[in-house]
């Protein structure tokens, strides 16, 4: 346990000293502020373009914005945050293979599964902090300017997208155990998620695919039962655990 914590501390130190933690923090804070900001600025932007639109014979009526517009923006922006997160963290394993830093650590007696667990824990922890920080910023601004209560199942819908991130990270861990290069990890992670998405296009399996969770913003306007997401949530959790679990024997057998 002590060695696992030591390796997690090393991962944390790496995130801090390489500046990744700050850069990703800035991105997620920016996205969190942008959601209400875009909603808030929409009427002003519309007013700006209304004159030129009038010249073309189009009339714009006054636009009313509320918290729902800000939450819509949140679900548009969060994939950008997830992509930035994956791009910046995709070298977490491969950089160690390429530089050979893992050799000394493993020859010190650290079990390989602890490397997988420590890196996974740090990735999941960071993703959770960034994601919910972005959510909290949007929530607070929305509460100041409008009423969050007009959106239904806010927390549940957000949890669904958080789970999408967890699944993508689990894929990234699995492919990091398998592949040697950053590009290969990114390609395979993207490919695996694309496969999940393509499966969701089949009506019969749609409700079972984790890609269904990406449409959780539909819950906000009401009229949709949360229960329809349960199967996709279960599958996402099982797939995430399976990916991380599978990466352990893969890591045990790989050449470092």
């Amino acid at each position: 346990m002590r060695s696992l914590i030591a390796f997690m501390k090393k991962e944390w130190m790496e995130q801090v000293r390489t500046g990744r933690i700050v850069i990703l923090g800035i991105i997620f804070v920016f996205l969190g502020i942008m959601n209400p900001a875009v909603a808030k600025l929409t009427p002003w932007l519309m007013e700006l373009v209304s004159e030129s639109m009038a010249e073309m014979g189009m009339t714009l009526t006054a636009v009313q914005v509320d918290a729902m517009d800000s939450w819509t923006q949140f679900y548009k922006n969060i994939p950008i945050g997830l992509i930035a997160f994956v791009l910046m963290q995709s070298g977490l394993f491969t950089k160690e293979y390429q530089s050979g830093t893992l050799v000394l650590t493993l020859t010190k007696g650290l079990e390989r599964y602890k490397v997988v667990l420590a890196k996974t824990a740090v990735l999941l922890g960071l993703w959770s902090v960034y994601y919910w920080m972005c959510y909290a910023i949007t929530y607070c601004y929305n509460d100041i300017y409008w009423e969050n209560s007009i959106a239904s199942h806010l927390g549940f819908a957000a949890m669904c997208w958080w789970l999408v991130g967890i699944l993508v990270i689990a894929f990234m861990v699995l492919f990091s155990a398998l592949m040697d290069s950053n590009t290969a990890v990114l390609t395979c992670t993207g490919g695996a998620f694309l496969a999940v998405y393509l499966l969701s296009l089949l009506p019969k399996v749609k409700e079972y695919t984790p890609a269904m969770l990406m449409s959780s913003s539909a819950l906000l306007i009401g009229g949709v039962e949360v229960a329809i997401y349960y199967k996709a949530i279960m599958i996402a959790i099982v797939m995430s655990i399976a990916s991380v679990a599978l990466s352990i024997p893969v890591m045990n057998k790989r050449k470092v």
Binding site: R2, S3, I5, A6, F7, K9, K10, M13, E14, R17, T18, S99, G100, T101, V103, L104, T105, L106, T107, K108, G109, L110, E111, R112, N252, K253, K255, V256
Partner: protein, 299 residues
Amino acid sequence: MEILKIEHLKKRFGDKEVLKGVEMTVPEHSVFGFIGRNGAGKTTTMKTVLGLLKPDEGDIYVAGEKVIYGQTATNRHIGYLPDVPEFYPFMTATEYLNFCGEITGVNKSESRKRSEELLELVGLAGEKHRIQGFSRGMKQRLGIAQALLNRPKLLICDEPTSALDPVGRKEILDILQAVKEQTTVLFSTHILSDVERICSDIAFLNDGVIVEQGTLAEIQGKNRTEEYLLETTREEEAKNLLQVFPNIQELQKNQLSIRGSEETLFKVLKYVADNKIPIHKVEHLEPTLESLFLEVVKG
């Protein structure tokens, strides 16, 4: 008692069979020179001992425990210094050693104390900069410190001096000399003068097998072919001798090497005396490890 035992180790990379049945034992408390040309399979052997490579055949035992690929249990007995050690560049030397201490399960206060001792030993005490700014020699010295942190029974050094300048080489050899009282050192290299300087036991790896193993004195005794230096006063006389005795080799313009028994030397000297060839000197050459290695490899 042996600290390391390798039995019939085979390893193939694609079509190339790198190790063809390595048999080797490293006695405890020895400084063991593992000698072979570049690409002979020294690093492959060492990485297999560390459980980092999977052998195709054969068994390895460290302190009596079997090495299992992918598992690290036997590594608690080992300290490892690769040829080019790579560290986390964002850490300082002290932070790295403390990290290694936590990984190996050394308690915090002992780890700090040991780190200080080792940094002192390798000349990095008080070094506050991050490792990313370290020179190759400094990294090598830190490599030795991390390898010794858990007081290993076996210190494996993979060509620790090959990438260093003469000053760096001397520093590393001095450190290895200093630690040989505390641990068994397995030291792979192709720089034979380094082996002569610090090793008590040696093994020659050639073409994937151990062709010779024993103490330095044993091997020197076993493979000894006498060698004499004959220096003529002029180059022409040396050329004349080369024509008469085909088994003589030219070392320099007027310096000749005579290899073989005393009988061979006497025949040459008789010819020199009979023909009144002026010579400058005759000298018995002590066999170098290099000449032994070449002899063993050739044989």
